[in-house]
């Protein structure tokens, strides 16, 4: 049974993918007639929008990269730490606390740089 485990998972994934494809094909085949122009417009309360929905905004890659690094580093070090945590005991706990405290400075910096606000 354990030998067949990966095979069973792979076939389950394939069956799920097939079902998804079949489902999307069925839903597109049974879709009602195309909608009229007023039906396609985004709803904001009953008046037509005055401008096109294409909107240019700043993705702010720099603060986003900063945040990604902070959380990614945390994860990278926490996996090996979790493996040795039981044998190392309280020392590992304190060391991880220090490490996260330092990383948190990066998050606080990103916060000050308004990385969490949209505009």
């Amino acid at each position: 049974m354990t030998d067949l485990g990966p095979l069973a998972i792979a076939s389950a994934v394939m069956v799920a993918a097939l079902l998804a494809v079949l489902g999307s094909w069925l839903s597109s085949a049974r879709r009602p007639a195309s909608r009229t122009a007023p039906e396609r417009v985004p709803f904001t309360g009953g008046r037509p929008p005055s401008v096109h929905a294409w909107s240019r905004y700043h993705a702010r890659y720099y603060p986003m990269a900063l945040l990604f690094l902070a959380f990614d580093m945390e994860m990278v070090f926490m996996y090996p730490w979790a493996v040795v945590f039981v044998s190392e005991g309280i020392v590992a706990m304190v060391e991880m606390g220090m490490f996260i405290a330092i990383l948190l400075l990066g998050v606080l910096y990103a916060w000050r740089e308004r990385a969490f606000t949209w505009t």
Binding site: G46, R47, S55
Partner: protein, 427 residues
């Protein structure tokens, strides 16, 4: 298979988008307590459109636009007045006094089982401008940065905090936007999630024909029992609280406030205070409302907007000038900073105080007519608090983030029905 899915769908709650026309606001709110239906915030999520109250001919097109935004299969129920023409010709009529829930349930069931055909689109299938085949790529205009692709111009440009020029989106909200009172049309300019410009494009509901005026409007003309007025005031405050709690995502507390609003009676002050404590415990005042600021306080100070003004610490209350209220030992509850949280507290505290006053009032009647303290501020002949609040809306919400702007707007409690009835009573 198909019929099994249909039967399952028919068993589900009917998802309803409700339009509240003149006089329909509280009736629609009461439907939130009804079983078997669910009010949704967008017509895209609904199968049944409920048009409640009076709809003027000016709003017919907007109603039709909402109707066309419902996905197929869809049905429309018209609840209440049918004067002024029907915006949706095929709508099923339910008279004003009766319960629309059975009709909504039946329409939903019939739609899901396929026994009722979906309503066709009401507006013509026309693009806002001719675009197919126009432009070098057939995209409808001169380009993607400033032209009119697909028939609509691009957003405006405005400065952003990094010195770039990015899009400022003109956004037309209303008249039937779920997070605002129905009838209010706002033209916002939004940069990211910050409101950088606001303008009230229109704010009116059609007056109800022959509907009973609120006790406060009647108190302008004739002396009214203080107990009646104060219970009505408490109920209005509690209904507002229910609506605001729902807007802030606290559905269960909202239901509790609405149940209390429907049954509030003299002497139930403790129940209202318990609700107020629950609202405070839920943390609304800490995380869900914008912080207080001086500008807001200055704007509200002289507007005589009832709880909003008193929350700033100004004892502005028409009841202070009434000897009948003086005899009952009335003194207004005052806040300090005038923030949105203070307005919530003021409304809840005043609701509790009103029920206490009503219990003490006995048969006393008001001694002053012509100018009355309504639940939302000073009411006088031809002058409703909603009119004064509307003038402040742009200054109050500009510069706020989207959620804070909606929260601020809700705190004003703009009641267009009251405005219409004050204008009608003295026309």
């Amino acid at each position: 298979m198909s019929s099994l899915v249909r039967r399952l769908a028919a068993m589900s709650d009917a998802r309803v988008f409700a339009i509240a026309g003149g006089g329909g606001r509280w009736g629609v709110q009461d439907l939130r307590l009804a079983d078997g239906i669910e009010l949704v915030a967008s017509p895209r999520a609904a199968s049944v459109l409920l048009v409640a109250g009076a709809i003027g001919s000016r709003q017919h097109e907007a109603v039709r636009r909402v109707h066309d935004a419902l996905p197929h299969p869809r049905a429309t129920i018209r609840w209440g007045e049918a004067n002024g023409g029907q915006p949706v010709p095929d709508a099923e009529l339910v008279p004003a006094g009766s319960d629309p829930v059975p009709a909504i349930r039946a329409a939903h069931r019939a739609l899901m089982l396929g026994a009722r055909t979906s309503e066709a689109a009401l507006l013509p299938d026309e693009e806002p401008a001719a675009w197919r085949g126009v432009g070098p790529y057939g995209q409808g205009g001169s380009g993607m940065t400033g032209g009119t692709p697909y028939g609509r111009p691009m957003a405006e440009l405005g400065p952003d905090r990094d010195g770039l020029r990015l899009d400022v989106l003109p956004t037309r909200l209303g008249p039937f936007f779920a997070a605002m009172v129905h009838g209010l049309e706002l033209d916002l300019r939004v940069a990211g999630d910050v409101v950088v410009g606001a303008e009230v494009a229109a704010a009116a509901v059609a007056p109800t024909a022959g509907g009973a005026a609120s006790p406060f409007v009647r108190a302008l003309i004739e002396p009214m029992p203080i107990a009646d007025l104060e219970v009505a005031r408490a109920r209005d405050h509690l209904r507002w609280t229910a609506e605001a709690l729902r807007l802030h995502g606290l559905e269960a507390l909202s239901r509790r406030a609405l149940l209390l609003a429907r049954t509030a009676a003299p002497g139930q002050g403790p129940a209202v205070r318990a609700l107020g404590a629950a609202v405070a415990r839920a943390g609304v005042f800490r995380w869900a409302v914008p912080p207080a600021d001086e500008r807001r306080r200055d704007l509200l100070a002289h507007a005589s907007l009832g709880p909003s003004t008193r929350a700033c610490g100004f004892p502005v209350d028409e009841r202070l000038a009434d000897p009948a209220y003086q005899g009952l030992g009335f003194s207004p509850i005052l806040g300090v900073d005038g923030g949105v949280a203070a307005v919530w507290r003021a409304r809840l505290d005043e609701a509790a105080m009103s029920l206490d006053l009503a219990a003490r009032a006995g048969g006393a009647t008001t001694a002053v007519t012509g100018s009355v303290e309504g639940p939302r501020g000073r009411l006088s002949t031809g002058d409703a608090p909603a009119g004064r609040a509307l003038g402040l809306v742009p200054a109050l919400i500009e510069g706020l983030e989207w959620g804070d702007a909606l929260s601020t707007l809700a705190s004003l409690d703009i009641d267009l029905d009251e405005m219409a009835s004050v204008q009608l009573a003295f026309a």
